[in-house]
Amino acid sequence: MSFAGAETDLVRRASEGSSEAFEELVRKYQRYVFNLSLSVLGNREEAFDATQETFIRAWRALADFRGDARFSTWLYRIAYRVSLTAATRRRDMSIDELPEPACIGGESDPEEAAERAADRSTLRRALMGLSPPYRTAIVLYHLEGLSYEEIASITGIPIGTVRTHLHRGREILKREVEKLAGGEPR
C-alpha cells in the first residue's frame, strides 16, 4: 500500500471509530499541529492545550471529513482556528522558556556543531519574538514545508497577504537575528 493509501486507510478507520487508527494519526501529526499552535500562541502550555483540543475536535468531526482536501490541511485548519480562538482569549503573547528542539545533527566538528546550535538558538529566540502573523507564515513555510497556497487555505488569508507576511517576517527576523547575535549584517 502506498504512503498516501496507508494514510487514507488510517483516516477511514479512524472515522469509523478506531481509536488505534486515530492514535497513529495523532502520532504522525502531533508535532506539526503543536508547532502551528505554538507559532500562533507563542506559549508552550497553551500550544499543548490547543493541540489537544484540535485532536479532540478532529476526532469528533472525522465522520464529516470527505477527503476534499488533504487530511493534513483539514487538520491544520482546525488547529489554526482553535489556536486563534485561544489567542483572542488571551491577548498578551508571552515568550516563555522554550526548550531547544531535537538536535538535527550533521556536524562532525564539535566546535562547528556548538556554533550552529548557538545560531539556531538565536534564530529561534528571534522567531518567537515576531508578531504572530509573521511567525505563523514563517513556521508554516520554512519549518513545516507548506506552500503559499496551502498556508492560504489553512489560514483563510489571501495568498498575496501570505506572501507579504512571509517576506516582511523574514526581513524583521533577519534584522533581529543580527541584533541578537551582535554581529555584522549578513
Binding site: 502531533q30 508535532r31 485532536f55 479532540i56 476526532w59 468531526a61 464529516d64 520554512h142 506572501r163 523574514r170
Partner: protein, 152 residues
C-alpha cells in the same frame, strides 16, 4: 532592471516564484551588480539556516493526554439511542389518539358513546400543528448527526 527593482523581487526569486522573464532579468542584474549579489547571497545563507531549523518538540505527555481525552460514545450524544425514537413515536401516538378523540372518530371512555366532532377548523389546526411538530422532529433527528459532527 535596477537595484530597487531587484530588491523588490529578491524574496520571490528566493522562493522560485518569479516568472521566466523576471527571473532572467533578475539573474542578469545580479551578474553585473556585486552589491545585490552579496545581498542575495546573504539571504540564501539565512534561509538555508531557517530551513534547517527543526520544529519544536511536542511534550511527551501530549499523545497520552490526547488519547485519554477522546470522548467515548457514552460521553456525548448517543447516535443509536433508542430513547429518542421511542419518545417521538410515543408523542406522535398520543397526538393522533387525542385528535381522533377530539374529532369524534373513536369511541370514548367506557360508555360506548361516540364523541361528536368539535369545530372542524380546530381539528384542522390541531392536525397541522401535530404534522409540523412531527416533521420538524424527524428532520432534526436526520440532521443531528451531521450538525453534531460539524459543531462539536
Amino acid at each position: 532592471m535596477n537595484c530597487s527593482d531587484a530588491r523588490q523581487l529578491t524574496h520571490s526569486w528566493l522562493d522560485h516564484t518569479l516568472d521566466d522573464a523576471d527571473s532572467v532579468a533578475f539573474q542578469a542584474h545580479l551578474s553585473r551588480c556585486p552589491d545585490c549579489e552579496a545581498l542575495v547571497d546573504g539571504w540564501t545563507v539565512f534561509l538555508h539556516d531557517l530551513n534547517a531549523t527543526s520544529q519544536w518538540e511536542e511534550p511527551e505527555r501530549l499523545l497520552p493526554a490526547v488519547m485519554a481525552a477522546l470522548p467515548t460514545q457514552d460521553d456525548g450524544v448517543d447516535e443509536d439511542s433508542w430513547l429518542e425514537p421511542s419518545a417521538l413515536f410515543g408523542l406522535f401516538f398520543l397526538c393522533v389518539v387525542g385528535l381522533l378523540r377530539a374529532s369524534g372518530r373513536v369511541i370514548g371512555g367506557l360508555s360506548g358513546q361516540i364523541h361528536r366532532a368539535y369545530s372542524p377548523i380546530w381539528v384542522t389546526v390541531s392536525w397541522v400543528v401535530v404534522g409540523l411538530v412531527f416533521a420538524s422532529t424527524v428532520v432534526y433527528m436526520l440532521l443531528r448527526k451531521r450538525v453534531h459532527a460539524k459543531f462539536l
